[in-house]
């Protein structure tokens, strides 16, 4: 480690040298110096006075459910209005579909254009010619690039889109509507519903969903003769509701009635996603828990790390833990009280995992077996996009075409270079994202909104995002071609 210039404190920290490895260095050196400096004693003493326990553990409700419900319902209009204002300030959510581009089921148009709003006085080009420091110092990072809050951060929990709520109610008579919040994004920025289902075991069949949403009521009739007995049992379990933090039988719930709970595919609708959102189970306290947009389970068979932060190493691990973590916010203590389901690791979990592992990406007719465009099928613009993707755009460094456009790694994009951390937006504290798993780009046009928290409405937004974050200085033509290329994946 080299010598660092002394920081100019009065000039403020914006001029502090960024010392990426400083923490590592400090801790290494500390082990040497602490005992000498008497700081070991200090550290121990400091730990003695701990933070409040409910900064980690969920407190029990203090009011009867009817009072909580009345309060929540009374607050709901303001809650939704606050979030609407956040979205309005960040994005243009009007209806501008890309002509002739539909999601894989052929029923829902893909929205186009950059929807993240620019701050006054800058253009995307002028922004990308500034340094991260300059953008941070002048407060110019577009708000839409920053973490997206949950509709009601302090309460948090799972929120389903209306199409899912209505269909589950119609088929099962099960209520997954909350009395305190509604889904916040316009329907045009969520995936096609119900999404098509493609099986690795039956590529010749194409979409096997019959245009229906898989539920406990119809799965047998839809899938018998197509799946194996083991897969059928896995599917049944994935469609069986179990109690959850906000949907259960206790007074600590957000459904009006004593709820049977939630199923895996209530979020991963037809093994894809319906953009239901949640908060990360992996962070505390509550104000710092970032939003999570449901990921698609398509192509899970090729993924080696699971969860944007947890990096669990098998579908089995994730499946077993999902009912504790997604269902119960990473709080096994709370789960115990509401009736946690612990699927048997040897008999049930593998069946659930094997079912998930036969879900394929949608077909990409323009890609060859190595994930490259077939020049005889692709347009000039798509081919130009692929060149940018592999070359100047450096996208392929992480989204490797040959391995389903992933690298099975997590990366820290260090967005906090561009803004002052610690600001509160609708009760979410904006903090560095840290390392996040590289998502696949196969079938990407089917899964808006984008990024782990759904902060970007369109693919054009992701191009502007990476253009800035990676300092690429792409031209407008290059950006457009990248979008055209991603639509072929």
């Amino acid at each position: 480690m080299g010598r660092r210039s002394p920081p100019h404190l009065h000039g403020g920290c914006s001029v502090l040298p960024r010392a990426p490895n400083s923490e590592a260095v400090v801790s290494k050196k500390l082990t040497i110096f602490l005992p000498l400096a008497g700081a070991a004693v200090l550290a121990a003493a400091a730990l003695a006075d701990s933070l409040p326990p409910d900064a980690t553990y969920r407190p029990l409700p203090t009011l009867p459910l009817d009072v909580v419900k009345a309060n929540d319902e009374a607050q709901k209009p303001q809650v939704m209005e606050r979030q609407r204002a956040v979205l309005e300030q960040r994005y243009d959510l009007s209806d501008h579909p890309i002509p002739n581009v539909m999601m894989s089921g052929g029923r829902k148009p893909v929205q186009g254009g950059v929807r993240v709003k620019l701050p006054a006085g800058v253009s995307w080009d002028s922004l990308s010619s500034m340094t991260p420091d300059e953008i941070r110092e002048r407060g110019l990072l577009p708000a839409g690039f920053m973490p997206l809050p949950h509709v009601k951060q302090a309460t948090g929990g799972q929120v389903f889109p209306n199409n899912q709520i209505d269909e589950i109610n119609r088929q099962e008579g099960r209520n997954i509507r909350r009395f305190d919040v509604d889904f916040d994004l316009p329907d045009r920025f969520t995936p096609e519903f119900p999404p098509p289902i493609f099986l690795t075991s039956h590529p010749e069949l194409g979409d096997v969903s019959h245009g229906q949403l898989l539920t406990i009521k119809n799965y047998y009739q839809l899938m018998v003769g197509i799946l194996t007995p083991v897969q059928m049992e896995g599917l049944r379990l994935l469609l069986t509701p179990f109690p959850q933090e906000e949907f259960n039988q206790t007074e600590d719930r957000k459904s009006a009635d004593q709820s049977l709970g939630v199923t895996c595919l209530d979020c991963h609708a037809n093994f894809h996603t319906n953009a239901a959102f949640h908060q990360t189970p992996d962070v505390r306290p509550q104000a710092a828990r970032f939003r999570l947009d449901t990921v698609s389970l398509r192509g899970l068979f090729n993924q080696q790390i699971h969860g944007s932060k947890r990096s669990l190493r098998s579908v089995e691990d994730f499946t077993q833990f999902e009912q504790r973590t997604a269902y119960f916010n990473g709080d096994h203590v709370s789960a115990q009280r509401k009736g946690v389901n612990l699927p048997d690791r040897f008999d049930q979990v593998p069946m659930m995992a094997q079912m998930q592992n036969v879900i394929d990406f949608p077909p990409a007719p323009k890609l060859d077996p190595s994930g490259r465009l077939d020049p005889s099928k692709a347009t000039q613009q798509e081919l130009a996009g692929e060149r940018v993707f592999l070359g100047k755009g450096r996208c392929a460094a992480c989204h490797v075409p040959q391995t389903s456009f992933m690298d099975n790694n997590m990366h820290d994009l260090k967005l906090e270079r561009f803004y002052d951390i610690g600001q509160t937006v609708n009760a979410l504290v904006m903090l560095p994202d840290g390392p996040i798993k590289t998502f696949t780009l196969r079938g990407i046009k089917d899964s808006p909104p984008y990024m782990h928290d759904g902060r970007l409405p369109t693919l054009a937004d992701t191009v502007e995002f990476f253009n800035l974050v990676l300092g690429l200085k792409l031209t407008q033509d290059e950006k457009d071609s990248l979008v055209a290329y991603m639509l072929t994946l």
Partner: protein
């Protein structure tokens, strides 16, 4: 707005980059976001259903205020000690900055506490008193390191505590206070980490004979 002493305000004005985004546009234009009504204590006075009347406090508000006041007072106290004892310039400057920033924040917090009828403890708590005793015995580089290491831990805890209040408190003024202060505390944390990196980095390239011996 955070009430900061004149010097800091000047710094703020001169360096719009630093603090202005956090301070100029209030982070919570419409007041803090609603909490989880399930957490309201029975008997809470309400201005609207589920909205605590102004100046109500819940247990997290009071826990936060107490802890933040203890931490803030210790911050200034130890910083004064550091201005007398620190041997390196960056540590001196850091301590000055703490006196200015935390002084202002402490005033704002005690005004809020008084208005909300929360009694604040006087003097240093046991943890910080112990820290002070240790620091009083340390000298030179040893002091600088111990002080700055304590600062890193205190600011880490302060950041988590402020986030706790933002998520769990119900008193609008206290939550706004926490939202306003958090970016500043995180900035201090980065400063303390950079100062520490400088201290240890410098020692690594040119260890003083005494320390070499100790190693």
């Amino acid at each position: 707005m955070i009430r900061l002493p004149a010097v800091t305000l000047l710094t703020v004005l001169l360096m719009p980059a630093l603090v202005v985004p956090a301070l100029a546009q209030p982070s919570n234009p419409a007041g803090p976001a609603p909490g989880n009504p399930a957490g309201l204590a029975p008997g809470t006075r309400e201005s609207a259903p589920g909205v605590p009347a102004s100046r109500q406090t819940n247990v997290p508000d009071r826990t936060f205020t107490r802890e933040a006041a203890i931490g803030g007072a210790a911050e200034v106290d130890l910083a004064w000690l550091a201005t007398q004892k620190a041997s390196s310039r960056p540590v001196q400057e850091f301590a000055q900055q703490m006196i200015q920033d935390h002084g202002g924040a402490n005033d704002r917090l005690s005004a809020l506490a008084q208005a909300d009828g929360i009694r604040l403890p006087a003097g240093l708590d046991a943890e910080h008193a112990a820290m002070r005793r240790q620091l009083e015995q340390a000298n030179g580089t040893e002091f600088d390191r111990a002080y700055i290491q304590g600062q890193i831990i205190d600011h880490q805890k302060a950041a988590q505590l402020l986030e706790y209040e933002i998520g769990s408190g119900e008193n609008a003024e206290l939550k706004n206070f926490a939202s306003d202060i958090l970016p500043v505390v995180l900035r201090h944390l980065r400063m303390a980490q950079a100062v520490a990196a400088g201290l240890y980095g410098a020692a690594e390239t040119s260890p003083r004979p005494q320390e070499q011996q100790k190693q």
